[in-house]
Symmetry: C2
Subunit: 342 residues, 2 copies
Amino acid sequence: MNLKQLSDILGLSPTTVSRALNGYPEVSEETRQRVLAAARAHNYRPSARAKALATGRSMAIGHVMPISSQHEMMNPVFADFVAGAAEVYAREGYEMLLSLVRDDDEERSYRELAARGSVDGIIVHAPRRGERRIRLLHELGLPFVVHGRASDERADYNWVDVNNRRAFRRATRFLLDLGHRRIALVNGIETMDFAIRRRAGYLEALAEAGVPADPRLMRADEMTEVYGHDSAREMLALEAPPTAFLVSSMITAIGVRRAAEEVGLRLGRDVSIVTHDDDLSYFRNGGDEPIFTATRSSVRDAGRIAAEVLIGVIRNPGAAPVHRMLEAELIVGQSTGPAPAG
Amino acid sequence: MNLKQLSDILGLSPTTVSRALNGYPEVSEETRQRVLAAARAHNYRPSARAKALATGRSMAIGHVMPISSQHEMMNPVFADFVAGAAEVYAREGYEMLLSLVRDDDEERSYRELAARGSVDGIIVHAPRRGERRIRLLHELGLPFVVHGRASDERADYNWVDVNNRRAFRRATRFLLDLGHRRIALVNGIETMDFAIRRRAGYLEALAEAGVPADPRLMRADEMTEVYGHDSAREMLALEAPPTAFLVSSMITAIGVRRAAEEVGLRLGRDVSIVTHDDDLSYFRNGGDEPIFTATRSSVRDAGRIAAEVLIGVIRNPGAAPVHRMLEAELIVGQSTGPAPAG
DNA sequence: ATGAAAGCGCTAACAG
DNA sequence: CTGTTAGCGCTTTCAT
């Protein structure tokens, strides 16, 4: 069933039917009702392709996720972010195009997306140090919102980000206040912007407290369970082991906890673990009884907000760049809880 | 840059340029080379929308993920599956459309996808008991492949599935062979097809060994860490607690482990945990030293295979339904390892 | 081997 | 308030 057929049935021109369906005011209310009823009755849906071609808007938004050629890790955070964004798209009539691109042909992929015109805008995921996509997208003239930021990009652009620096500064301070002096940082890969900011926050807090940073207590890698376990085991074997761990992801913190238990340390007594809780649906830190002390922010909310910002930008291309900073809260867990001073 | 402009530059008709670009044989080799060179030089990309409208094929595949109106959980497995599928799509020139639909307007969503013509085929995720999407998609005539199966659907259809029943039967047998007689099943929600099959495998193995199934040792819920923890705590408090746990997901198994440790049980001695390892990139069970004993299958492979099957179906609509059964292997972990008999 | 013309299904001036 | 016409960018007969 297409427009022409529907309009034939109604004895109207395709134009009038189109206008009625799209809510144009210059259609009599009676006609509109007739059209709406007929459309429903015949289960009519406009062809997305034809509509896109005619209007120049594809009503689709692209989510481009870099898959590193070296690290093939699929970010678990991605699923929840996308779920948040999808809510908004469903409400606003957008489709979501997912594109996983290897970073070695990243530029080609973005150029292609733009030239093929399959999306009206893009959400940029996982910005890294030396990020080149921002300039590229500006050049291509494709509206975009970055989830996170690119520290060394001086141009202005739309972003939605969690205040990672402040969150980690606060978490570090929390541990310092408890008396800890040897605090390990088990971070994500430090080419990722968020990891850079987290380390900055950690270092700031240490500096403020006059505690020197010890390179042996700082790790950065892909945030797997095994990584948490192995690096914790190594650090705990130092002559002066850490008394607390600040860990960039919940799953990695679980590995750290396993390592601590293996060497006979009791959580919340011999060692403290503080992590960041992305508040994922499948693995929430818990409300009543958090597993870990953690800084917490909702990835799903970030997805929702990013989608809303992007749609706003698409509708109003002239507007000034939008920046949305989400603050993380600190929640103190029971089982891993605040450890007594070093 | 569009076809017309490119053909003007070349002094050829759009027709010829189109033919050259799409590899039609009736173009002179010389012309083809000229066209190809010019296209590259001007960074020409055909408009996906125009092409779709003209050909009737959108070159896009839809992934439809149900979001339960009650349980808002975003399956962590989804991300890896999609990553596998994306590899194939990139290779074959398809785009990926992601659609998260609430189950209360599921039918509407599928009808819309079909009528709008935005996809050439669909991957159906998370089939459940009483699955209605299969009949619907058959009715709509949209090619599809189900990731998993629908136990109570008698019509034939394309599917790619892990042999969940056999995997859990094998895992249960493994525990029985070690001497365990009170084996708890911490399953996923048993409206999900995979959970139904896993329980079937578990019950089969018990029956074969003449061990009666105890309803108090069988749980089913969304597979979070907290669920694993809480249900394990409850079961461990029974007058006759389980000596082993068979857990449907790694993240839930972590919760079970936490519970066991809280009550002072030592893993691989006082209690055994066997789980299913979906072999996700961010949380692999480990090769050399698996954290848990587990049945293991690669979700990413499943995604790849499902995508390949679907593309085959789209290209060859007449063919007989394809069924691809993936077998899980049993890997014996060290830390949780084989526990001594009851 | 190349081109002209029609058409995919819709929207958007422009008329009336 | 409704209809006519052109056109979005491509593919695909049908001629030549």
